[in-house]
């Protein structure tokens, strides 16, 4: 990779990057900053929009029980989806990392659903979990369960669909990390007498922690910031913060409060990402003692 240095080169480089930089500053950075500012400098009172610095919007978000429950549900849903996806992701990631024909098939099956629209994937789950959907049909006709409950429009529906929709985002980083593990390490473990489970727990998992951290961050971020999946699977019975923001802005016209909720969502996602990534660094350093 040749990098040109020197003043003329720096100028050329800067010019090449300029249009994108300006575009993103104008249409990404500024609008988001403005949104956060708006949540602090405006609020909706009974007489209309009132300006002036105030934490009122945030006080409401944490003070009203309904809103707090939505925030808590969003966080718990994000964590739950991330943690559950670990169990489904590891076997797939190991298969992919091993490569070969089977590995390519697994990659295909994992990646193709990503190209199917999220609305369709969520709709598919709503047809599985509805009262006369596939799951209940299987329960009544094959397992002879009487009067199965409807799972649609519950938290579990949202959770199940979220794991299914976002699983590839855990599998792919994990498979990359596992693929980086030298096969010699696994051979050494086997020679030393480790059984399959042992080598999984003591070798593969610790060495794949960086990939695990990325996967956890992605699944948490995508689940908690989602709108379509919780909307179709949970409706108004199990709102997450995305649903709430949309409601506040579009239905109730309370832009400042919507902006505050959106800012909280940004903070939530950034904070959890930091926790996962820093945590992974720490654990990784401890377990592999600097290898």
């Amino acid at each position: 990779m040749t990098t040109s240095s020197g003043k003329r080169a720096a100028l050329s480089g800067a010019l090449l990057m300029l249009p994108t930089t300006v575009f993103l500053v104008v249409f990404f950075v500024l609008p988001n900053l403005y949104l956060i500012a708006f949540s602090l400098f405006a609020r909706m009172e009974s007489e209309g929009l009132v300006y002036g610095f105030s934490f009122e919007n945030y006080r409401r978000a944490f003070g009203v029980e309904l809103y707090v429950s939505v925030l808590l549900r969003t966080v718990w849903m994000g964590f739950a989806a991330a943690l559950i996806s670990i169990f489904f992701a590891y076997p797939l990631a190991i298969a992919i990392a091993r490569g070969g024909f089977f590995g390519r098939i697994v990659t295909l099956v994992v990646v193709v659903p990503l190209l199917v629209n999220v609305v369709i994937r969520s709709y598919a789950w709503s047809q599985v979990l509805s009262r006369n959907g596939a799951l209940n049909w299987m329960l009544t006709n094959i397992l002879a369960v009487e009067n199965p409950p409807q799972l649609l429009y519950t938290e579990w529906a949202v959770l199940t669909a979220s794991v299914h929709v976002f699983l590839p985002f855990m599998v792919l980083p994990l498979s990359a990390a596992i693929g980086n593990i030298s096969p010699d390490v696994l051979d050494a473990a086997r020679i030393a007498g480790a059984g399959r489970i042992r080598s999984l727990m003591r070798v593969i998992v610790p060495l794949s922690i960086p990939g695990l951290a990325v996967g956890l961050s992605l699944v948490f971020s995508l689940t908690s910031a989602a709108y379509v999946t919780p909307q179709i699977l949970g409706g108004n019975f199990s709102p997450l913060i995305g649903t709430l923001i949309y409601q506040q802005v579009m239905a109730l016209n309370d832009w400042p409060f919507g902006a505050a909720l959106a800012s909280l969502l940004i903070i939530m996602v950034l904070a959890i990402n930091l926790v996962f990534l820093k945590g992974a660094e720490r654990v990784s350093a401890r377990w592999t003692s600097g290898i």
């Binding site: 990779m1 040749t2 990098t3 040109s4 080169a9 720096a10 050329s12 480089g13 800067a14 010019l15 090449l16 990057m17 249009p19 994108t20 930089t21 575009f23 249409f27 950075v29 609008p31 988001n32 403005y34 076997p91 298969a95 089977f102 697994v106 295909l108 099956v109 990646v111 193709v112 190209l115 199917v116 629209n117 999220v118 609305v119 369709i120 709709y123 598919a124 789950w125 047809q127 006369n132 596939a134 049909w137 299914h164 590839p168 792919l172 498979s175 971020s221 910031a225 989602a226 709108y227 379509v228 995305g242 949309y246 802005v249 832009w255 902006a259 959106a262 969502l265 996602v269 950034l270």
Partner: protein, 260 residues
Amino acid sequence: MSKITYAIVILILLAIVAPLMVPVLMSFSDTPFVTFPPQGFTLRWYHKVLTHPEVQASLWVSVRLAAVSAVAALVLGVPCALGLVRYKVPGRGLVLGLVLSPLIVPLLVTGLSLLQFFSQIGSRWTFIHLAIGHTVICIPYVVRNVSNSLILANPDIEAAARVMGASRWTTFRRVTLSQIRPGIAAGAIFAFIISFDDFPISMWLADARQFPLPLFLEVAILRFFDPSIAALSTLMIIFALLIITIMEAALGIRLRRFTG
């Protein structure tokens, strides 16, 4: 890999595919309502959705939007990747962070902030709003793919061309460009798909006339009680399979890069 591991993996793969098969099966049902298992066999729902004017209108909006956004993302992203990889500009770490940041901020929030931004400045050109919003979220994919290609490209050939007297522009056009073509193609395809399938940005910026397909799908789920949506879902699943086949065949792209 032991037999047990194989079995576990196959079970999980079936669990991934099974829910997607439900709408496929339901789409052939000869009933005016969705039911599982399907009863009868008919293709009339496919006929209905393929000839439905609203479906066609939304599809056209999505295709146009994705094309415009992909092109815009390329026009902005390719030079940016060049600047980042090939030149030592002070502060390029910051630029890289800026370029990748649309991936970190939730799309839902970016869409809302853009809606607020556009209404504050009083702009009413919805299609342009949508295009801008989609371009913002597509740029990171273009820059990442083109950068990867650039890093892998052989700099000696470029140096040879310069030594032989080619101008910077000629070198770029005849040497660099052909080497980074896979990266550009990958970036373009990802940008098109991201824009075509986007919901969290479009949900804020669309209006009745510019109503992209994903938004239409969500509304249609509530409106159509017959298997039309199942038929439309099946068509889109087939479309996704087609894209993957084309990508693998024509470009041999490593699919892991998609979220990597």
